[in-house]
């Protein structure tokens, strides 16, 4: 896979569900046919999706682009069934049509020849798969810490395993991997391995922890933020997140969704 570096404007485009599976409890794995997203999306970017004509729910829903296959014109989403919109998506069969806006947001810069950590939990795992794949191909060593409440919520486990040099599993209930909190084992690992960067998604605790690591001078930290979104394109100013220190707001969709961890207020 070639590492892309030219940012394209989003498209409003139709996709078809190629395959769907519910591998992990409460999650939907969608493989979608759409050339434009498959070709142009870069790590860190997302799409807004709807699969219904109705205005209830009215907004399209944002999801990270998990994997792309430009050759076959396919891309993957991993969706946690959280409410009305995701339940609707979950009810669609293979062959159904989706309305997609994207790719949206700023790509993360893919580190070349570095050492990085991915610290993710729950649906947050979806955000970093594409980054992991791209970074590894760019000669970066990727160490993944994947956390979940229990074994069958370790979403993207296989995708991340393939895309990482090493993967650590952590569950709250000890049903798989380390029994406890990822932070317990991470600080030691960092002191030892001295990574260049750490990327986190899916947990406010992890984000704050990542901020602390950076403040201690141990590594640079980045956070994938989520926010309620209406447009995904900077028009509504709805997805604001407070800037750290200086005052004012970033827009998650337009200025993010990935931010240097200490540039934003993590409440």
């Amino acid at each position: 896979m070639k590492i892309k570096n030219s940012l394209i404007k989003p498209f409003l485009t139709e996709g078809r569900i190629k395959t769907r599976k519910n591998e992990y409890t409460g999650y939907l794995d969608l493989l979608i046919e759409n050339d434009k997203i498959a070709e142009h999306a870069m790590p860190g970017q997302f799409v807004m999706v709807r699969g219904w004509d109705s205005n209830d729910p009215v907004f399209s829903r944002p999801f990270d682009i998990v994997q792309v296959n430009p050759a076959k014109g396919l891309f993957r989403l991993i969706i946690k069934i959280a409410g009305k919109g995701t339940a609707m998506l979950n009810s669609l069969r293979a062959g159904s049509r989706l309305l997609i806006t994207g790719p949206l947001g700023n790509p993360v810069e893919v580190p070349h020849g570095e050492k990085i950590i991915l610290l993710v939990r729950g649906a947050g795992a979806a955000a970093v798969v594409y980054l992991a794949e791209s970074a590894k191909k760019a000669g970066t060593e990727v160490f993944t810490f994947l956390s979940a409440s229990t074994r069958n919520r370790l979403v993207c486990r296989d995708y991340l395993k393939d895309a990482s040099n090493d993967i650590n599993i952590i569950t709250d209930d000890g049903s798989d991997g380390y029994h406890g909190d990822a932070r317990d084992i991470l600080e030691g690992f960092i002191n030892k391995s001295k990574p260049d960067r750490i990327y986190t998604c899916g947990s406010k605790r992890f984000a704050r922890f990542t901020g602390e690591l950076e403040k201690k001078g141990l590594t640079k930290g980045y956070v994938f933020l989520e926010s309620y979104m209406a447009c995904g394109m900077g028009d509504c100013h709805g997805c604001a997140v407070k800037k750290r220190g200086s005052g004012g707001y970033f827009l998650v969709c337009k200025d993010g969704p990935v931010f240097p961890v200490n540039s934003v207020e993590l409440d």
């Binding site: 409003l12 009215v58 399209s60 926010s227 309620y228 997805c239 707001y249």
Partner: protein, 303 residues
């Protein structure tokens, strides 16, 4: 046959009656692959203040049944930066430019009107007298005397035609439209959002950072149509019908009710192609129903 979609708002000719509602469409290049503002009847700025503003505490939006609440609070770079950075973009599309302004006092409105007029780049000035998310935002459009005075004052200091954007949170909006007209407004924009709120039942707190917000979207469409319908017979200045338009059918309803032009707000977020679809849909409707000009159908639901 080519349909004539031209409409006239206070002497300004719009090549079609479709424009964004203020604050809902940035006319940024991010839309380049989707839709170009040069297809529009007019472009409309978000509301500008003299000084910069940050906007309200998040969460700023939430979804409601067929609608949304917003408590954005009109973040703005202030008028000087607006003129420097945004106005050249807006006036680069070759379509009329509507600048929306608001202030904390009568003096603010007048000062802004003057500054905007001096740029020579505003075809129409929209007074946002009806934002429910500002400290003194909606009061202008709720108090008959204040409404009259602020419009009258602005009209005294500028020759740019003035649109008064009114609030539905009044006893009878058609009376307010009439007051706006008698104060000298050249057009009215009906309607801004309704004040509403959502409560998070898990946190047992208001969902929005600013407690309440403004409701817009399809949910309020029947209320906006009625606002236009009831004002149409009372005033002779044009109405820009805004509120819940989500399809060309909704837009045609507005025009039949009495709107000369239509504003599209939250649905830009849902379907970034909606404004083009509305323009095409109106054109097809005229054709299918044997009307040559859009002006033939304005307000004819009253007949």
């Amino acid at each position: 046959m080519i349909m004539d979609l031209n409409v006239n708002i206070a002497g300004v000719i719009l090549k079609n009656p479709v424009m964004p509602a203020s604050g809902t469409y940035e006319c940024d290049s991010i839309h380049d692959n989707i839709f170009s503002p040069d297809e529009l009847g007019a472009v409309v700025s978000k509301t500008i203040f003299i000084n910069s503003r940050e906007g309200n505490t998040p969460p700023r939006i939430c979804e409601t049944p067929c609608g949304m609440l917003n408590s954005i609070g009109i973040p703005t770079e202030g008028v000087n930066n607006f003129i420097k950075d945004r106005l050249p973009v807006l006036s680069g599309f070759g379509v009329p430019v509507i600048i929306s302004i608001a202030g904390n006092s009568m003096e603010d409105f007048c000062e802004l009107a003057g500054i905007i007029e001096n740029t020579g780049k505003a075809d129409l000035l929209e007074l946002n007298l009806s934002c429910p998310n500002l400290h003194h935002g909606i009061e202008w459009a709720r108090d008959k005397k204040e409404l009259y005075r602020v419009i009258k004052k602005v009209k005294e200091v500028t020759r740019v035609p003035v649109i008064a954007k009114l609030s539905p949170s009044v006893v009878d909006i058609s009376e307010m439209s009439l007051i706006a007209e008698s104060a000298g407004a050249d057009a009215v924009a009906l309607i801004n959002t309704y004040k509403g709120m959502k409560i998070d039942i898990n946190k047992r707190k208001p969902f929005l950072g600013n407690i309440a917000g403004g409701l817009s979207g399809p949910a309020i469409h029947p209320l906006a149509v009625y606002a236009v319908y009831s004002s149409f017979t009372k005033i002779s200045i044009p109405i820009i019908g805004t509120g819940g338009i989500a399809s060309w059918i909704d837009a045609v309803e507005m025009i039949l009710a009495g709107a000369t032009a239509v504003g599209i707000g939250m649905y830009n977020f849902v379907n970034p192609l909606i404004m083009r679809e509305v323009i095409k849909g109106i054109e097809a409707y005229l054709k299918d129903n044997n009307f040559a000009e859009i002006t033939e159908i304005i307000g004819i639901a009253h007949l």
